[in-house]
Symmetry: C2
Subunit: 365 residues, 2 copies
């Protein structure tokens, strides 16, 4: 592979000049420049990234640390990160599937020096510990709904508001006894969705009780299993808010097997709007989360920090809005939506158009 010296020699100039050409520093006469470029492309020369990084202390690479999360969520977020990074000329060093905090720490440490910044998503309550310590001193952006990490920027989903809005919707349909299937107790998003559920009920003074809060862990089987407890409740709730769509899949299946009709006997609502949601029977009403945007915003904030001339700027916690996607599983769409819409190829896919848009961007600063 050709080096800067080869180019300099062939072009009859010094390496400093070649360097200047490749860094657009001006100060090089146009004739020299074109000569250098010609030689460079003839030799298939490209500046060595490692040597460059060594002296400039910048790698043009951003680290991404993700937990082992579900396919659909994962790919949405990472696409947002990826597209944004490439547009800005940055590379992405990704590392996902971390189970414990130790794995996370060692992954972080081994990234040290390879990256100019870091996006971290670690929804387990305790795992956020001392990321700063492991990571060296690059800027960090969290994809995390907590605002108490005042030393980092963050981007998050409006879990509380989304859950609350969905519960309010169920209430508006006349339900007064609404259960929930919650996520892992240590998961921050799960906690916030539970909080949103409670807040929604509190507002109208509907029945509130621990009885109605069923345990789950964001997996489909846990949703399936929760249904036994749900149906055992006496009096039986008429609706259930499930804290993510994966569990809702399990809930729907269990209800079908138990002969409980949805939405007539039991209204069901989910959270996330995964692809599958619209193909369930009945199609699942859910809270839509823009996963792409989540990744894209996180990366933009990180880049902003990375090149900041004014690094003194206060840290921001940005919250992305969610929106309700009302399909048939909660019962309200039946009146609105005629059974057949043959003339309209993507009615199901286009359910966003019938959705109630809830909450616009709320940026706290």
């Amino acid at each position: 592979m050709a080096t800067i010296k080869d180019v300099a020699r062939e072009a009859g100039v010094s390496i400093a000049t070649v360097s200047r050409v490749f860094n657009d520093k001006g100060l090089v006469s146009t004739t020299t420049e074109s000569q250098v470029r010609a030689v460079a492309s003839r030799l298939n020369y490209w500046p060595n990234a490692m040597a460059r990084s060594l002296i400039t202390n910048r790698t043009h690479t951003l680290g991404v640390l993700l937990p082992d999360l579900h396919g659909e969520f994962f790919s949405g977020v990472i696409r947002g990160l990826d597209v944004t990074a490439r547009r800005e000329g940055f590379h992405l060093l990704v590392s996902s599937s971390h189970s414990g905090i130790d794995e996370l720490a060692s992954a972080l440490r081994s990234m040290r020096g390879r990256i100019d910044g870091l996006v971290v998503m670690a929804p387990d309550v305790e795992s956020m510990g001392s990321i700063r310590g492991w990571a060296g001193d690059v800027p960090i952006v969290l994809i995390d709904p907590r605002t108490e990490f005042t030393e980092h920027d963050s981007v998050a989903i409006a879990n509380v508001e989304g859950a609350q809005a969905m519960v309010q919707h169920l209430l508006s349909l006349g339900h007064r006894s609404i259960a929930t299937v919650s996520g892992p107790v240590r998961n921050v998003d799960a906690r916030q969705r539970l909080a949103g559920y409670r807040a929604g009920l509190r507002e109208v003074g509907a029945e509130r009780s621990r009885r109605l809060e069923l345990a789950g862990d964001f997996t489909e089987p846990s949703g399936y299993q929760a249904v036994a407890a749900l149906l055992a409740l006496d009096p039986r709730p008429t609706a259930v808010f499930v804290a993510n769509d994966h569990m809702a899949v399990g809930v729907l299946r269990a209800l079908a097997e138990a002969g409980v009709r949805v939405p007539d006997d039991m209204a069901v609502a989910g959270f996330d709007d995964i692809e599958t949601a619209r193909y369930l029977s009945p199609p699942l009403s859910t809270v839509r989360v823009d996963r792409f945007q989540l990744g894209a915003r996180a990366l933009q904030r990180l880049l902003h920090r990375t090149r900041a001339g004014a690094p003194a700027e206060a840290h921001r916690h940005e919250v992305l809005p969610t929106s309700l996607v009302i399909r048939q599983s909660c019962g309200s769409a039946r009146a609105i939506t005629p059974q057949s819409r043959a003339g309209e190829p993507f009615a199901a896919g286009g359910s966003m158009t019938t959705a109630t848009r809830e909450r616009r961007t709320e940026e706290f600063r």
Copy 2:
């Protein structure tokens, strides 16, 4: 950030000794070693990856180049890559969502020097062009079913065999007129699946005709649209093999809207076994592809090349087996599967257990 010099000074040794400690080169007395390690951890020292790479010419990073593909496929493959890479102590530099060949080329060029090897997935026929030229001289492993790229290793799905097996299954159910909805004409996997479809029909001398080969592009809408042509066929086929599950989703919806019962009036089969497949109504019979394994194997081959003591080894084209997942959309499972299996929580999820396992690993060497 502490450098090797700081550690050397504090520990009262030379930088060579510190270096030897951190490279497990032996030749250092145990007392010196422990002293150095103590100082290093006190100073929070870790060798600078860039400086290291500059002189050793190894980055401990592998590049991953993916097209802009559908969420579910993508995340499966990348998990396989990621998990394997981390286990082997390598980082992953990913770049996806490339539309044209130019984008691919520039992405490749900018990775030059940052990686020790490359995994490329570029299913469009022409895009494989001169990857070697862009990429520098690191080893490359393709995720690609073609075997004509004799200068690289490759890992692929058994498209032909999978499609053929599914068609044979439909034939065994008594269907004699089987249509197909094909993928993009430039896509290699799509071509191979079409070839498999044809081969399956040829074998038993069933009806073969261009009429029966409907155009699609792997997207859901294209599947939906293909149904118009399908139903217009006279005589109408009794079964359709759809070249991927996304299109099959569209096909099923269009058939439902047209009042065509599946599988009674029309049997439907897909390819890929995406998550959604089992939740469609009726649940989709399809050809299962192990996406995780696809990524994992590709990475293993790449690592093998990367550290190869014997680089002269001939290039291999590895083909991963597929398996049939028979659900209800093709009609055969109805007899086997009792409608209710309440006692068995994950019957639907566990449909692999009822699947006919087709073709074991075939490694060509």
